[in-house]
């Protein structure tokens, strides 16, 4: 009696085991790189870890198909290697001899990928589902782009610098003009006289003499 019950219990899992083969059409290969990810704090891969994996995957299937009661026994694993890679297939909870379609498995994994990764302290790169591309984080584009802000600062400084330089040179020119117009009357007469003489005048020129000359010529 007992043997019959044992055989009956083992039968489903034994039946299911043959469904999992490397290269199965509805199965996926998983590869873990624990030492690369965690280095010294890497944990050893053993039966318990495998149990956790099957449980996490069952969780992912449950989350995706709301209502269907997936169990650890529905996740069948085979072809384990020392690399820590293996194949798995998912059997349907209603009928353990049929497999869940590959696309559904992919979607379920995709949805809960983050949870699966964190259960093992791994990332998309170190816990690979061969054939399921990871959904990368959406790029954050801050608006306005940061380079424009720095550009604005520098451009503003340059613009201010140019305006300051132009304004100061205009003011300097105005100041020079005012100074010149004050000293111009004195300069003009001496300049005219120097040209007439042809030589540089030494001494202070007395203008009253030149007026006298004109009168005497007459």
């Amino acid at each position: 009696m007992l043997e019959k019950i044992l055989v009956l219990l083992c039968l489903p899992s034994a039946l299911a085991q043959h469904l999992c083969t490397p290269g199965a059409s509805d199965g996926y290969k998983v590869r873990l790189s624990i030492k690369t990810a965690l280095g010294d704090q890497a944990y050893v891969w053993n039966e318990n870890e495998m149990f956790l994996f099957r449980a996490t995957l069952a969780f992912a299937m449950r989350t995706h198909f709301n209502g269907q009661m997936y169990n650890v026994s529905n996740i069948v694993v085979c072809d384990e290697t020392p690399r820590v890679s293996f194949w798995f297939v998912v059997t349907s909870p209603l009928d353990t001899s049929t497999l869940v379609d590959r696309k559904d498995v992919e979607e379920a994994v995709r949805k809960s990928r983050n949870r699966i990764n964190s259960a093992f302290l791994l990332t998309d790169k170190t816990l690979e589902f061969i054939g399921i591309a990871p959904t990368l984080a959406a790029p954050v584009y801050p608006d306005p782009p940061p380079w424009l802000i720095v550009f604005g600062v520098v451009m503003g400084a340059v613009g201010a610098g140019i305006i300051i330089l132009l304004v100061t040179s205009v003011l300097q020119k105005k100041r020079k003009k005012n100074e010149k117009s004050e000293g111009e009357d004195d300069e003009e007469d001496t300049r005219v006289k120097t040209v007439e003489n042809g030589t540089a005048s030494d001494g202070v020129y007395n203008m009253s003499f030149s007026d006298d000359e004109r009168f005497t010529k007459m």
Partner: protein
């Protein structure tokens, strides 16, 4: 009528620093290391220094003497030597104008990279993600992220020079900024330029020094320095080595643009320019060598990083294919494992052969790059792998900016000084004339910010000035030596300095330099004729590589 006294430098140091700032430019950083690598490493220094002594320093001295004596820009100075030679000055101005048009675009790129360095992750470090978020953009995957950033995001390059697109607004803004800063630095002529060169000539050395320390402490940098400085003396037998050394000295000192004449025209009449000419030329060459040490260290680092990544990828490939435990293969035991796996699983291994890369450190080191590719792609790739990459990026592009700006100041001065000598223009205020020149160059320069702009840039860079400069300087040295006469020139120098130039100067001016220049000239023409239709490298978006296209001159 009183004539305004010619403006002058506040002190001779400003003049020296202005010459240094002008001569030490981007070519010292991106052309000399390439030549050094291609022509036998340390051995290249021999032809380089010989050419410096035979050709570089004498021609530099010549231009300074002309400028200081005539106290006019290039057109006025040459017209004073002989009225028929005014065309030489005009040619210099036109060449400087070409250079001004496209050179500031490099500064615009430096600004672009500088501003983009103020981010938590450098934008050229990772590829952007594609639209359905499953991976990276394909163009970026096939090329590298630094190449993608340069060709697609900085330039938005089209696939050939005929395909025009719109102006890249970011580039146009950066070009506007570059011209704004140039204007600010030259707005008052020598008075403002003289103060600016204190900074533009000295700060690049500070950065180079910092980079030297950082560079030689990088992992694998020593590989680069040793590999590239090891002299390969057999290269000295190759005439191209000597031609390239002569050409590099020639272009590096910036002869023939009229800048040196313009700078020297603002000197005091008795300024001792002989000593200054030697000092500036030596500083220029010394900086080239200094910059190459830094560049080779960076190359060594980049090559080592690529090599180790290659080894790591091979290791992963073997682990994954043969499903071995993660710690079984280490990078050191890689080669022995490859042999072992080849013998134990020959069929499986045979499937791998096309995926298995051949990791070779020497081949990584052998990739020689020059020009904008070195400055913007190779260096930014090395920088992204350094810790604290934002800091290094900012420092590096700031240095490139200063080098570029220093040379720009010289080139714009070379245009403005001769223009000011014309009576028509001398009534215009300084600020207005400078502003007009800058706006004119800015508007024309916008053409280089279009999608095919980089190809136009390459055309200008490779063909715009080289031939004309050789010709100009050849005419310069022949006219001074034979038309003006060495005797008269000697007397002028004695008038300025108080003693005559010795036999070394006279021999080089009258004999050696003209012969060297004629040789370069002939070699250039022969190469041009033999080369057939000139070609340029175009970025092919589909293949994501550079293919060579022919430059058909539009007639």
């Amino acid at each position: 009528m009183e004539k305004e006294a010619r403006p002058s430098w506040d002190n001779p140091l400003q003049f020296v620093l202005a010459c240094v700032s002008y001569a030490v430019g981007l070519g010292n950083v991106w052309r000399f290391p390439y030549l050094c690598q291609m022509h036998g490493g340390g051995g290249f220094l021999i032809p380089y220094f010989i050419m410096l002594i035979l050709e570089g320093i004498p021609l530099f001295y010549l231009e300074l003497a002309i400028g200081q004596k005539m106290r006019l820009g290039s057109i006025g100075a040459w017209t004073a030597i002989s009225p028929y030679l005014g065309g030489v000055g005009l040619a210099s101005v036109v060449t400087s104008l070409y250079l001004c048009l496209y050179y500031n675009v490099i500064n615009a790129w430096s600004f672009w990279y500088l501003f983009h360095s103020f981010q938590s992750v450098l934008p050229w470090a990772d590829c952007p993600i594609n639209s359905n978020r499953t991976g990276f953009i394909e163009e970026c995957e096939t090329a590298t992220s630094t190449q993608y950033f340069f060709y697609r995001q900085t330039l938005d390059i089209s696939s050939s020079i005929e395909e025009n697109g719109g102006i890249h607004t970011g580039q146009a803004l950066c070009l506007l900024l570059a011209w704004g800063i140039t204007y600010m630095f030259i707005v008052r002529g020598v008075k403002s330029t003289g103060k600016v060169v204190y900074f533009t000539s000295t700060f690049p050395y500070v950065v180079l020094f910092i980079y030297l320390i950082r560079g030689v402490t990088l992992h694998g940098a020593i590989n680069g320095v040793i590999y590239m400085f090891t002299p390969k003396m057999e290269q000295l037998a190759n005439p191209t080595t000597w031609i390239n050394a002569a050409t590099q000295i020639f272009f590096s000192l910036g002869l023939g643009f009229g800048t040196l004449i313009a700078f020297a025209s603002y000197n005091q009449y008795n300024n001792n320019f002989e000593r200054q000419a030697i000092v500036v030329s030596l500083i220029n060459s010394g900086t080239s060598i200094f910059a190459s040490i830094v560049t080779f260290a960076i190359y060594g680092f980049k090559a080592t990083v690529n090599y180790e990544n290659c080894l790591e990828r091979t290791r992963l490939l073997l682990l994954n294919t043969f499903s071995l435990a993660e710690d079984s293969i280490t990078v050191d035991s890689l080669s022995s494992w490859i042999d072992r796996l080849n013998t134990t699983y020959p069929e499986q291994f045979a499937e791998l052969t096309n995926k298995l890369e051949d990791c070779n450190l020497e081949r990584e080191l052998d990739t020689a790059v020059e020009g904008t590719g070195l400055a913007f792609i190779v260096y930014s790739e090395a920088i992204k792998n350094m810790p604290l990459s934002q800091l290094w990026s900012v420092l590096y592009f700031f240095m490139l900016l200063l080098l570029g700006m220093g040379s720009m100041l010289g080139n714009v001065t070379a245009i403005i000084t001769p223009l000011r000598d014309f009576k028509l223009v001398s009534n215009m205020s300084n600020e207005l004339l400078n502003g007009l020149v800058c706006v004119f160059c800015l508007l024309l320069g916008l053409g280089f910010t279009t999608t095919s702009g980089n190809y136009w840039f390459t055309m200008f860079n490779d063909y715009g000035a080289n031939f004309s400069l050789l010709f100009i300087v050849l005419i310069e040295v022949i006219s001074v030596s034979y038309i003006y006469g060495i005797k008269r020139f000697e007397k002028d120098i004695e008038d300025m300095l108080g003693y005559r130039p010795n036999w070394y100067w006279k021999i080089t001016w009258a004999g050696i330099s003209p012969l060297l220049l004629i040789t370069l000239f002939i070699v250039y023409i022969v190469n041009y004729i033999q080369g057939g239709t000139p070609t340029y490298q175009a970025w092919n978006k589909e293949l994501v590589s550079c293919d060579v296209k022919s430059l058909v001159v539009i007639s």
